[in-house]
Chain length 277, copies 2
């Protein structure tokens, strides 16, 4: 059974990167005006800002700050680069704390110069190293498994099963999983692994968009909900059956949509959310 | 333990699409001259040819005709299109028979207008329908699981586990699996599922190339062996441990390499085969 259509916008969250041409102040103003209730902040939008004040501005705009995007990139053959990643993840935790969000999305990293197993070991170690900081700040780390087409350089965690294995091995209430339909829709184990994730209270986030046919760019050709082949309502029904009732986050990287008028795009997003999410 | 380097070219097979600018006669002449021992023929190269004579020409050139590429595309929401696919697959079986090869590679198909489960059901049905023809012609059908980035339109069979499940369900010595490193290298279950495949005598083919970082085109930016991050010798060691000792087939779709002088490319292939395969 597919999920029922969403009743209203109370669970709608947008990733700032979805409307990349806007700065954070424009995003806050326009999201708010459109009735969006949550925002996931990409770190580049905070550059040159007072983060505490920016968090305040978002809340004053009626937006819940759902998460900070993104930490991770723990895997590297070079020790010095891995150390830099740890430093950067600690900084992300601090930014999340200042911004007033309790969650960071992790794109875990991969390095084509080494095996996926080595990358995964480094990811495990990296998360464990950052974990005390995350706990202290009350910030949860959400491991986002990435599509296998990103296994070379972006993440050696490519299925939700691998993400579940990883977070269960770490076994902390501060580490969980972010489910993004774009990365996971094809996986024959998806339903079962979503339930496993929920059962262990590890399901921290739910990201949506769509997979277009054809997809002409591996990174920046994601579709608006309804433009592609992902059965969003079915996957949402699994996520909700697994106990998740948090924000539904729209995360679309799209060279095409970024070229359009962003206010019109935002209208389309709200409509597509109601019709397809 | 990785596999030992190949000793010679006795197991080297090229897919005609790897040197796409060449017609089949040029491919035969040049492969033969370079010491290549096997050829997998893409069907487009047979257009306008007498297939029986072409098969003869290949054998006279000292080439073993390893397989015909490709059948499949069984999945479609439209019954009429599925029927056309069956007809086309029967034609492929006839072509394979005339060409004198005992194997057809299947790209099973997918349709973004329907669920992956529906596509998989149609794939199962399609293979079962073509199977009597394949048996009669002594031609085996090799299901090639395709990378999840092709799950929308090319194949709803995206892991070797799914391919194993499918061929075991069909349970015929005329249906097996083609392992292509490009599609499967990222899969955490790859080693185990290769052994399962071998144990059931279903491992029919082994295709190699490499995954480049960055990959700029989803379809036609495959790398020459050694250009990317795939541990070819490790995967070959698994395939051989699983009992496979057939041809090692070089299948590279590459806009970049197709633009180069194909004789130089062929030299590079032979060298890369010795150094990295």
């Amino acid at each position: 059974m597919n999920a029922e259509p969403v009743k209203d916008l109370s669970r709608l969250c947008l990733h700032t990167i979805t409307t990349k041409p806007w700065n954070i102040e424009e995003a806050a103003r326009n999201y708010s005006k459109a009735g969006v209730k949550g925002i996931t902040v990409w770190r580049d939008t905070l550059e040159g800002r007072d983060i505490i004040k920016t968090g305040g501005l978002l809340r004053e705009s009626g937006l819940h700050v759902v998460s900070l995007c993104r930490g991770g990139f723990f895997a590297n053959t070079e020790k010095a680069k891995r150390d830099l990643a740890i430093t950067d993840n600690r900084r992300a935790v601090e930014e999340a704390f200042k911004l007033g969000t309790d969650k960071i999305v992790l794109v875990c990293g991969a390095d084509p110069r080494q095996s996926l197993e080595d990358s995964r070991k480094q990811i495990y170690d990296g998360i464990c190293e950052v974990l005390p900081d995350a706990k202290a700040a009350g910030v949860k780390l959400a491991v986002e498994p990435l599509h296998p087409m990103f296994a070379d350089t972006r993440s050696a965690v490519n299925t939700i099963k691998q993400a579940n294995d990883l977070v269960e091995a770490i076994d902390s209430e501060y580490v969980g999983v972010a489910v993004d339909v774009y990365h996971l829709w094809w996986d024959p184990d998806l339903e079962e692994e979503i339930y496993r994730c929920g059962k262990n209270r590890n399901l921290l986030a739910f990201h949506i968009c769509d997979w277009k046919s054809p997809t002409v760019d591996m990174l920046n050709d994601r579709g608006l909900m309804g433009e592609g082949c992902i059965n969003l309502r079915k996957i949402r029904s699994w996520v909700e059956k697994a106990g998740f009732n948090g924000f539904i986050e729209v995360e679309i990287f799209s060279n095409l949509w970024w070229k359009q008028d962003q206010n019109e795009f935002l209208e389309r997003i709200v409509r597509a959310y109601k019709e397809h999410a």
